[in-house]
């Protein structure tokens, strides 16, 4: 029996050492590589056998890890749209996924059309969510490359009518209608994010932007903050 134990320990230690060496020596697979080959959430749904919410939660955990890793390294989020499509197809009511996914795609992924599509699908799947309507308005308001005040105002107004919309939605709708990208409005929006979001990355982004706006106002160089918020001009739709 002692011989068996000794053999088992020796072989186990050798296997353990080999696994460690392999992890260092062999190229690591991309963290989301496997998900890139998955079909869309619509076809994945039958495969999870009645547990789409749990599957969406597990995909959410991976998505958060993916975002964190790429934010620390190359700031490339090539798979982000795909994984959030899967996630929200599995769980259409997962509102936080629409919010985080949209903002990550818009602000740091530089892919506003994908962000807009994701948020729109969230609004379609959750037509009575005042919270999502408000977040959609915010997304349009801080669109990189040019705030879309018309759509922002529409969404803020919708949020003010729906359950779950924040009390400030009406105020923001009014600001968006009347202003053409006022720093004061922007600062108020970011302050709301800092106070209410449970997402650490969102709160960090809010702090950064509020700091830039304060600097711009104090130095009377609005271009500092305005540049960061987005470039030229604000899209004003006729009749707004």
């Amino acid at each position: 029996m002692a011989v068996s134990w000794a053999v088992a320990l020796a072989l186990g230690a050798a296997a353990f050492a080999l696994a460690h060496w392999s992890a260092r020596a062999l190229p690591r697979p991309a963290p989301f590589g496997e998900l890139a080959y998955y079909p869309s959430g619509r076809y994945l749904r039958p495969a999870v056998l009645g547990h789409p919410e749990t599957a969406a939660d597990l995909a959410w955990l991976r998505a958060v890890q993916y975002y964190g890793e790429h934010r620390r390294t190359d700031n490339r989020f090539d798979q982000l749209a795909h994984v959030f499509d899967i996630l929200t197809a599995l769980s259409p009511g997962f509102q936080s996924a629409y919010v985080f996914g949209s903002f990550a795609l818009a602000q740091e992924g530089g892919r506003f059309p994908q962000a807009e599509r994701l948020m729109r699908s969230g609004l379609e799947n959750n037509p009575t969510s005042g919270r999502l309507a408000f977040e959609a308005g915010f997304l349009y308001y801080v669109r990189p490359g040019g705030r879309d005040l018309a759509h922002a105002a529409e969404c803020f107004e919708l949020a003010s009518r729906l359950p779950g919309g924040p009390p400030s939605a009406t105020r923001f709708a009014a600001f968006a209608r009347q202003n053409s990208g006022s720093l004061v409005v922007a600062y108020a929006l970011w302050a709301d994010v800092l106070n209410t979001s449970s997402n650490r990355y969102m709160r960090e982004a809010a702090e950064r932007e509020m700091q830039r706006i304060r600097l711009a106002i104090e130095s009377r160089r609005e271009s500092l903050a305005r540049d960061r918020l987005g470039v030229p001009g604000v899209i004003v739709r006729p009749g707004s």
């Binding site: 056998l49 009645g50 547990h51 789409p52 749990t54 939660d57 955990l61 979001s197 449970s198 997402n199």
Partner: protein
């Protein structure tokens, strides 16, 4: 009364066999795991806890049905312990109902224990108001497990434990894919479409027992839904057990 005697014995077997104890421990381990993962969920920890907790009850319960339920009758036949029972004034259908009732009771106890633990954890996290939604979700999962147990007992009257487990798993999958089967049937012509639709009708409609989507947001379902699910489960169980009784009635114990 004889059915209760058989049920009590089956329940005792499930408890003393330590399978259920392992399942309950696994369920608690999953709940503990949700708390380990909670910091990684960026504010969605409550949702993660409830979703994973409810899914573990359903999954672990299914495991018990496949490991224990699928061999409930066939193992007694193989081991010949059934001789001592069926040589008494015990109709075979009563024996079958007793076996099903015993294992179902054990599964309800497990589901209730894990469901209570989930609610307690959620309450500790500062959300005591989820009792109703968690209770309804666990109740529906209990009904689902009871139904699948009846299917497993039916197959167990006909076949070996391994094949019974495979057939039961197949019916479970079919039950999850009822709606998809009907959708696919629409893409095919004529007779094949009718075959697919017929298969979808025969399979148990397990989506009726899925309230996990509502539970994680604290929402409850209607009393009508609960009543319909209960009635459907009873009818389907009755049908499966009647078929099992017919199979067992004609069986010779060589």
């Amino acid at each position: 009364m004889s059915a209760l005697v058989v049920a009590r014995n089956t329940y005792r077997e499930a408890i003393r066999d330590r399978v259920l104890l392992g399942i309950v421990i696994a369920g608690f381990a999953v709940l503990a795991l949700t708390q380990v993962l909670r910091p990684l969920a960026l504010g969605e920890g409550l949702r993660l806890t409830i979703d994973l907790g409810l899914s573990s009850i359903a999954f672990l319960g299914l495991l018990v049905v496949l490991l224990v339920g699928a061999g409930l009758v066939s193992k007694e036949i193989d081991r010949r312990t059934i001789y001592n029972l069926l040589s008494r004034p015990l109709p075979r259908w009563v024996y079958l109902v007793g076996k099903w009732a015993g294992l179902s009771t054990a599964l309800w106890v497990v589901a209730a224990a894990l469901g209570f633990a989930l609610w307690a954890l959620v309450a500790l996290l500062g959300h005591p108001g989820y009792a109703g939604s968690i209770a309804e979700a666990v109740y529906l999962e209990g009904l689902e497990l009871t139904l699948v147990t009846a299917v497993a007992v039916f197959f167990s009257s006909l076949s070996t434990p391994v094949l019974s487990a495979l057939y039961t798993a197949g019916v479970f999958l079919g039950g999850q894919w009822c709606d998809d089967l009907r959708m696919i049937a629409g893409h095919f012509p004529g007779a094949f479409a009718r075959v697919l639709e017929g298969a979808a009708d025969v399979m148990p409609n397990l989506t009726l027992f899925n309230m996990r989507t509502l539970a994680s947001s604290g929402a409850t379902t209607s009393a009508l839904h609960l009543a319909l699910a209960t009635l459907y489960a009873l009818l389907y169980c009755g049908c499966a057990l009647a078929l099992g009784a017919a199979a067992l009635e004609s069986r010779d114990f060589k």
